[in-house]
Symmetry: C2
Amino acid sequence: MLTTVSKYLDQHADRFLEELKEFLRIPTVSADPECKPHLIRGAEFVYKQLADLGMKAEIVPTAGHPIVYAEWLGAPGAPTVMVYGHYDVQPPDPLDLWTTPPFEPTVRDGKLYARGATDDKGQVFTHIKSAEAWLKTVGKLPVNLKYVIEGEEEVGSRNLEDFLAARKESLSCDVAVVSDTSQYAPNQPAITYGLRGILAVEVTVTGPKKDLHSGVFGGAVMNPATGLARMIASLHDDHGRVRIPGFYDAVQPLSDAERQQFLDLNFDEAAFKAELGISEVFGEEGFTTLERRWARPTCEVNGLVSGYTGVGPKTIVPSKATVKITCRLVPTQDPHQLTEALHQYLKAQCPPSLSFEFTSYHGCPAFVFDPNSPYIEAAAEAIREAWGVQQVRLIREGGSIPVVQTFKDVLGVDTLLLGWGQNTDNLHSPNEHFSIADFHRGTKASASLWAKLAAMQGDGSAASAANVC
Amino acid sequence: MLTTVSKYLDQHADRFLEELKEFLRIPTVSADPECKPHLIRGAEFVYKQLADLGMKAEIVPTAGHPIVYAEWLGAPGAPTVMVYGHYDVQPPDPLDLWTTPPFEPTVRDGKLYARGATDDKGQVFTHIKSAEAWLKTVGKLPVNLKYVIEGEEEVGSRNLEDFLAARKESLSCDVAVVSDTSQYAPNQPAITYGLRGILAVEVTVTGPKKDLHSGVFGGAVMNPATGLARMIASLHDDHGRVRIPGFYDAVQPLSDAERQQFLDLNFDEAAFKAELGISEVFGEEGFTTLERRWARPTCEVNGLVSGYTGVGPKTIVPSKATVKITCRLVPTQDPHQLTEALHQYLKAQCPPSLSFEFTSYHGCPAFVFDPNSPYIEAAAEAIREAWGVQQVRLIREGGSIPVVQTFKDVLGVDTLLLGWGQNTDNLHSPNEHFSIADFHRGTKASASLWAKLAAMQGDGSAASAANVC
């Protein structure tokens, strides 16, 4: 990377942080209908950032929250890179567990605390600031850039696919870049070559049409909370295996080489348990913790509610009970097919005296990238330079970025998953944060990446992956 | 009953209703710490009602909410009756299911809607207004009256027993009267001769110290919601029987005579199902619905919460999960012993990777009154007169009034359970209400009861129970 670009990034680091704080102050909770106006403000913030760089930018309305699109196409003959990210965030609750309020960004111990700090506002912002550095110093970028920054990633990217399909031609590109994953560990930057898929559903069972006095009626009607608990209990066997019929049919087993590669990462289970505050790990029998997290499918309860949840006792039989469930999927499980299998299985487990209501949210299949791609080596070089390390880890991730599959399906491109954060950054939890040093290094790696991709050999074959592990 | 007393009750019926509304406007939710000032206002309201009748009244502070005590002892040689009731109410949520706000009493179709309308403000108020009628017309009562109106019935009457024990001598009486139960059906007034006992607990299981991203960590840690669901599922077998070891050991089986007596009530199961909006009844195999409600023990989930319960999906593994459970008990199950059995059973079912926290709330054993008592006949006569019916039903109740056992233990007296409401009055549910006609008849029956108890023969043996069924 040119020294002038690098110097610009150093000189303006404090301002970038202040601008990121401004971004984080907007409560862009896409799941909360009341936040709709804030989502619009979030889109406007992103739009202004990109338009102010002289890019052709627009806020594209959708049936849900808008998508911000911008492009800079001043490098004819150079590769075209699509940067994807999202300006929406997870709900912040439980609020009482935040040390400082989720939408009042606060720096403590070199970390910036706020909902969205790492997922994904802080990370996507690096790719905007890296472009600024090139444009304000060199006056141009070494590659063509197309930005797609959406506002519905946390609720399943409901309108993105339509947007991509409608603009398929104008969005044509060589590769996509997404920073919405993590490093392997502090100062061990990584490229993520595999992601799990997901399906998300909600089930409500209803018994009596209203809450009943548990003395007057208890014992004579099916209790929906008990009924739902029995249904949830039926989801796993005693060995941690999911009991939905056909659930494992399409699971691609890990190769011996891949299992060995996971082992070589020397995963520190004691540190993991200490970090999470658990006495024991738990999961599907016969698999290591990294395998369970990265390469095995799951069925998890995300939320559960029934009856009285306030202070003290309340002697009722609840009218209804609701559970939110997500399954993480691995190649080659099909989210639609398994959503239906889950639906049928839970319906069959539902006690006959309860009514059963099933809602399916979003789904996407798992994704595994070719680790020998020249794009990966270009990205690894940029990261080595920015972090000053010898090795860039090649890892998988348990999370899902549904759009990666969509990019492959609709635009025919692979995606570089470049994580600047840590998986201990409390993404989706209270006290989410992002290391300011990682934010800065991420911005530098992004600026370098544009140059490395521009310098990449045509067929990519000469780029060695020797230093990637 | 004297005509003047009866006439007074008719003439002042509208004012009584207005005063009851005033009582109901005070949100005396004993489970909610924020309502503490309102509990004090509730006690003051009751105090003023009784003091204004010239009774010696006081507000007795306790470690929790105060107890109102008042007495009128101007009938030497006549029986002494203790009236017990409570001015506290159940929490009103879910608020959105109330047609009109719970603490804005509203009359619709001859019914007064408000939290506490029937449980127990409306019912206890009848015994205050009946005394007023005697005192304002005759100038005296036919019996001696002692009122104990507490503010913690809905949270387990935590401080009542100490109060009773401390004042054991001055509270001496011949019988207690409580109106906190129901008629058998509209215009089928009843005396309740049996109640179930109760135990109430709360269990929280905790896994990771914070909510985790279900992609990054899912599959590798025990999910507390899943763990708790498995624990709840283990509470019952497939035949609706409770699986806590020893749970049924002390259960007194119903006699054939009693089972027949229940059958003779011609319980309308179709109407019951329609009323509750359920397609099927459900419960312990081998028992009828009335048996399940009145004479069989239960283990019910009252509330359940874990993780994200807002709108839409949230991809987390929750940190903790909580369940509230109450068991209804029958003679001669011991609440303390079974609380401990439940504790040990659930602890044993708790997955080892979750931490287990158990809280015990209140408990009381079941109670069965001697149906041949002369007090029952005196009460039945008063009710027949007020309702203008031939028969007063003799029933049991599935609910618990823990103090009934305390009265027996501490004061050595039996309790007349005279229910003026309906079990369809939505007690403990949204849209709780009390028929204004029942309120009026209840007040008349109470006024009559004082005369019938005064006229009762010394040994009670001559009072026929022929019309009680």
